[in-house]
Amino acid sequence: MAANEISQQQAPVVVELGGVQKVFSNGTRALDPISLSIREGEFISIIGPSGCGKSTLLRLIAGLAAPSAGTMRISSEIREAAIGFVFQSPTLMPWSNVQANVRLPLDLLHAPRAEADEKVQRALDGVGLTDFAHFHPRELSGGMQMRVSIARALATSPRLLLMDEPFGALDEITRNRLDRDLSSLCERERLTVLFVTHSIYEASFLSSRVLVMSSRPGRIFSDVAVEDSRPRTEAFRSSQSFIRLAARLSATLAAAMHDGEKSGVKP
């Protein structure tokens, strides 16, 4: 447990935000200057009230939006492997089967055919969908569609995975199972993950570090390290440290929301 933590402290910084700020064209301050270092192998959850800029932060790192001010450094290793992104909804192409959907990022990056075949196969194996390669999205359940979406994000063998409330729409049992699978998958592949969620329990279960954000404008209210070893198993859910962590996050989140309400009053 301690060894795990020490190795993570020493792991290289792969994403570094220095005073990154985002102001939308309509004048909304989505993110106040945020400074954040993400080390390789960290599983960072971001929780916070709606409109606190969680998704904006992911979009900035993904390169889908440009910061209004500040510096952003992403290691070349992460950039070269392409960043994996998982959206709130499965966001699959309904006209293509599972295999073609997972293959999409590889096609767009012009990956050689044989290499792409192999990577798609491995990504499907990784999420347990090998037998469903030729199904169309609408023939699958919501949980399976989400697995396809994760397989697609993993197809390019990314080193950084950005996930924007990926399991929010699923029932709790499916969500717990996917969380479990995700935890072991990330540990196995030594992935760095930034995971936006509304669920304190999901954040507690998955993370090595939790960022609590407050809103209007969005900023990091609290940065909580979680020292328990990963991957987490079902037993972790009933452990003392899980319960303590959830209670602590709950209190911090309440304080962050209160703080947001105070500062939300227009001067």
Partner: protein, 261 residues
């Protein structure tokens, strides 16, 4: 299963009943054929004049098909252009609207005067009549791509061509087919109306010309026969487009999803 039968049998029964009533009224009242021919006489005329009418049918169908093809190719190309650049859309869309709201009967004479080749003039008229629904529907469809998928394409450095072929065009397919269904009917109407307007200046060979001639000669049974062929063409065209839409969308779009009880 039962419901499907009702949907098939009920309209056929109404049709048969209508034909019987029509026949009975004509025969009982001794209505002369140059006012209202009996359905039996119309059918006999259709068979007797088939040589002439089938030739005209082919001409009208050819004009319709060529116009529909032109409307699809030009309409989709214009929609793609509109989506690439807002300035192009802002500059051209008003003219497409003007073209649409100006009655075809009013511009057809000009087109027929300006274009030497009568067949080409008819195709142009029918294209003008049918292109608008293709443009509007396809444009909406191209703009309806899933924003998440658009982000994904952008993140992986997709080229414009990749985004167009692999995301925008497939996304627009359901909208395109909805437009195509309307365009198919309009192309046929356009072909017939244009030939009416052209009159003796036209190709002198389509179904509309047969109707004009039959009217002048008071050959009402033949007029009815030509009318029936136009209607039948319209229905066949509608069914063909519906079948095509089903083949393309069956695998994935809700509109063509097989119904489950």
């Amino acid at each position: 299963m039962n419901r499907d039968w009702v949907r098939l049998v009920a309209p056929v029964a109404v049709g048969v009943a209508f034909l019987l009533l029509w026949h009975a009224l004509v025969v009982l009242n001794d209505v002369p054929a140059y006012i209202v021919p009996s359905p039996l006489l119309v059918f006999k005329t259709l068979v007797r004049d088939w040589g002439m009418l089938s030739g005209s049918l082919m001409v009208t169908l050819e004009v319709t098909a060529a116009a529909l093809l032109a409307a699809v190719v030009l309409g989709v190309a214009l929609s793609v252009l509109f989506v690439q650049n807002r300035l192009i859309e802002a500059s051209l869309l008003p003219y497409a609207v003007i073209l649409q709201v100006t009655p075809l009967v009013a511009i057809a004479p000009l087109i027929i005067i300006w274009v030497d080749q009568p067949r080409t003039a008819l195709v142009i008229c029918a294209t003008v009549a049918s292109i608008f629904p293709v443009i509007t529907n396809t444009t909406i469809g191209l703009r309806s791509a899933d924003p998440g998928l658009l982000d994904l394409f952008r993140m992986h450095g997709a080229t414009r061509a990749q985004t167009l072929l692999r995301l925008l065009l497939p996304s627009s397919a359901p909208y395109f087919f909805a437009g195509l269904r309307v365009a198919a009917a309009l192309a046929l109407i356009g072909a017939v109306v244009a030939e009416f307007v052209a009159g003796t200046g036209g190709t002198k060979s389509g179904l509309a010309y047969q109707i004009l001639q039959a009217g002048l000669q008071l050959n009402i049974p033949r007029l009815f026969a030509a009318l029936i062929l136009i209607t039948a063409s319209g229905i066949a065209l509608f069914l063909a487009v519906s079948l095509l839409a089903r083949l393309v969308l069956r695998g994935w779009h809700e509109s063509e999803r097989p119904k489950e009880n």
